[in-house]
């Protein structure tokens, strides 16, 4: 048996070590595709008549980049180590402050550092504060850990308004990214140049966090999350596992904060506030804490709602909240979980059979969302919109929100759409169960 085992192990080893560009490309093509897509995306919004990039699109895309780094670092604790933090933004914000002070020192000539490496300074800030706060918070796990991080979050937020020299009070710390110390001779005076820097750093940080999951520490973080007692009896101190994981997560959160300082050239007390921590939590849950890329997907959704929908509606935060609740209730695995559930069906090659059922729930789904949004917007209009002196429009038709018609339309769409959706959902369920049963029978579940 042992000779047989050795032979098999040797075969596996050659398979793993299979050299060549093809294997490399097969493994990493998605990374390259995402990187190239990120760099091409702003050109969709490029104004060819004025030959200028859209500032709005670039800022939004930069925000997606730096917030994904932040959310992924949050998930190093949440998803991988099972540590729910309510104060993760303090590591992000403090990294941002450190980066802002670093930029100011470079500008003042008291230190020399290429602008390209300023996010790293933010990361080191996050690392140091991560070790400091981590030492306190990781004494505990589970609920006690969550409570300590919440306390630390409030503590730092209070400090931000007290210690003027470091935090700059309400006004924050302003900075200037045009320091003339670029390694590449780039001035970073345009949003496009800054965006490129954000994309590169987001890629580096994402890749590094991905690789970290495959290290002994990363694996033991999973193990201690699953069963901390068992982890003790294989020789690991779960507290040290939590501490190192927390500190490293602080490093990456700090990189996100450093990018924030460069993009916005100001770091205020918002960056350490509880609402910032909540954004990472929302993004992680909406995208899915179970898979590595969940927080990235979730960040895209949250930032689009934050930047895009907030232009159209005063109630955008309410939509984020509702989306969060719906995801936690119906899809606890997040967007990544939903995608993963389709994998067994895809393996049996019957994914096509879901197109019609999906289309059939899409129509009543859109109808009920329309009804819901209409009612929310009407309600928000009567309080805020009127004060802003706007007119209420459905499509291009101006409607008077003081009349019954739009309210009845909204209620009818919501109730009718909801009832219709329930009906269609039953049919969808039957079809879905049949396909899953088929996948099980064919052994395609795992």
């Amino acid at each position: 048996m042992s000779a047989d085992a050795t032979q098999r192990a040797a075969q596996r080893a050659t398979l793993v070590a299979a050299p060549g560009f093809a294997a490399f490309a097969r493994r990493y093509w998605l990374w390259f595709a995402a990187f190239v897509a990120a760099l091409l995306l702003p050109w969709l919004f490029f104004d060819w008549s004025t030959h200028r990039h859209s500032g709005f699109a670039l800022t939004m895309l930069s925000e997606i980049g730096l917030m994904s780094v932040f959310a992924l670092s949050f998930n190093m604790q949440m998803g991988q180590a099972g540590l729910l933090s309510f104060g993760h933004a303090i590591l992000f914000g403090l990294g941002g402050y450190v980066a802002a002070h670093t930029l100011n020192a470079i500008k003042a000539g008291t230190m020399w550092l290429p602008v390209e490496l300023v996010p790293l300074a933010g990361g080191l800030g996050g690392l140091v504060f991560g070790a400091l706060f981590g030492y306190v918070a990781t004494q505990q796990r589970a609920t006690a850990f969550a409570m300590i991080t919440m306390g630390l979050g409030e503590l730092v937020a209070a400090c931000a308004l007290m210690f003027m020299a470091f935090f700059g009070g309400e006004g924050g710390i302003s900075t200037d990214r045009v320091t003339g110390t670029s390694l590449l001779g780039v001035s970073y005076s345009s949003s496009w140049e800054v965006y490129c820097l954000v994309v590169v750093w987001t890629a580096i940080a994402t890749m590094a966090m991905r690789l970290q999951t495959q290290t002994p520490l990363g694996r033991m973080a999973n193990a201690a999350r699953d069963n901390f007692e068992r982890a003790q009896f294989v020789g690991y101190d779960p507290r040290m596992v939590r501490f190192y994981q927390f500190t490293l997560s602080g490093f990456f959160a700090g990189i996100g904060g450093g990018l924030y300082a460069i993009v916005y050239e100001i770091v205020t007390f918002d960056t350490v506030a509880a609402s910032k921590s909540a954004t990472a939590l929302l993004a992680t849950y909406i995208g899915g804490a179970g898979g590595f890329f969940g927080p990235l997907l979730g960040t895209i959704v949250v930032v689009l709602l934050q930047s895009g929908v907030s232009l159209l509606s005063n109630a955008w935060l309410l939509y984020v909240g509702v989306l969060f609740i719906v995801m936690v209730m119906y899809a606890p695995g997040g967007l990544v979980g939903i995608i993963a559930q389709h994998a067994p069906i895809a393996r049996t090659g019957r994914l096509r059979e879901l197109v019609v059922p999906y289309a059939r729930i899409l129509v009543p789904g859109v109808l009920s969302v329309f009804g819901f949004v209409l009612l929310i917007e009407l309600a928000s209009f009567t309080t805020i919109g009127v004060a802003q002196g706007k007119a209420f429009k459905i499509g291009f038709h101006a409607v008077d929100p003081a009349t019954a018609f739009p309210w009845l339309l909204g209620a009818a769409a919501l109730i009718g759409g909801g009832a219709w959706l329930r009906l269609e959902a039953r049919g969808f369920r039957t079809r879905w169960d049949a396909l899953i049963a088929d996948a099980k029978a064919k052994g395609a579940m795992l």
């Binding site: 192990a9 596996r12 694996r219 003790q232 009896f233 690991y236």
Partner: protein, 250 residues
Amino acid sequence: MSDVAISLRDVRKSFGRTEIIRGVDLDIPRGQRHAMIGPNGAGKTTLFNLISGRFPLTSGTIALNGRSIGGLAPHEINRLGLSRSFQITSIFPRLTVFENIRCGLLWARGYRYSFWHLLGGQRALNEETDMLIERLNLQGRRNVPAGLLSYAEQRALEVGITVAGGADIILLDEPTAGMSHSETEYAVALIRAVSEGKTLLVVEHDMSVVFGLADVITVLVYGEVIASDVPARIRGDKAVQEAYLGTEAA
């Protein structure tokens, strides 16, 4: 180093005002397969928890290979070369079988809290993991999350995690509980194989397992050792028959 792997001197443990372990003295020589039996509530699992550092002692001393373990945390005791399994299956349910076994190996192979080694490239470590998986006969389930295994497979996996690091003292808490007859037979063969040349302390209710596996049997009743001897003499011991075998094996 002494020839005694596990040495207990007047070990006592109380929970509140109830004394569960009432002055246990026991020496288990290196390389012995030692079984502990006794009726429910005799304190067998508590004694396990004391030896492995899960609970602190109330009084007395426990020494492993001549070194006192008073005040040491479980992970420190593990690093001294003691590894244990649990009565209620204790594995890493969301990790694959392969990851479970590899986690059992990491500390012993010196990886500590490293975040600079990529595990995919650690060929010797991965091969060692696969060898052990084949010994456990779990190679067909290598990439399955441990939480989805059958009960008997999970028990085998736990034995695997326990022995993976190469600890020379192994504590198994009811390793065959809840197994069918054929599963038990397989588990005993596995335990015999992986404990070769090591000190084994096992708590077990199944008498065929106990008498088939152990060199020496200790009988624990109400927190006290009433007999400790080779199986043949334990079988003939009057006090043991009265306290334990008489009621259950009748």
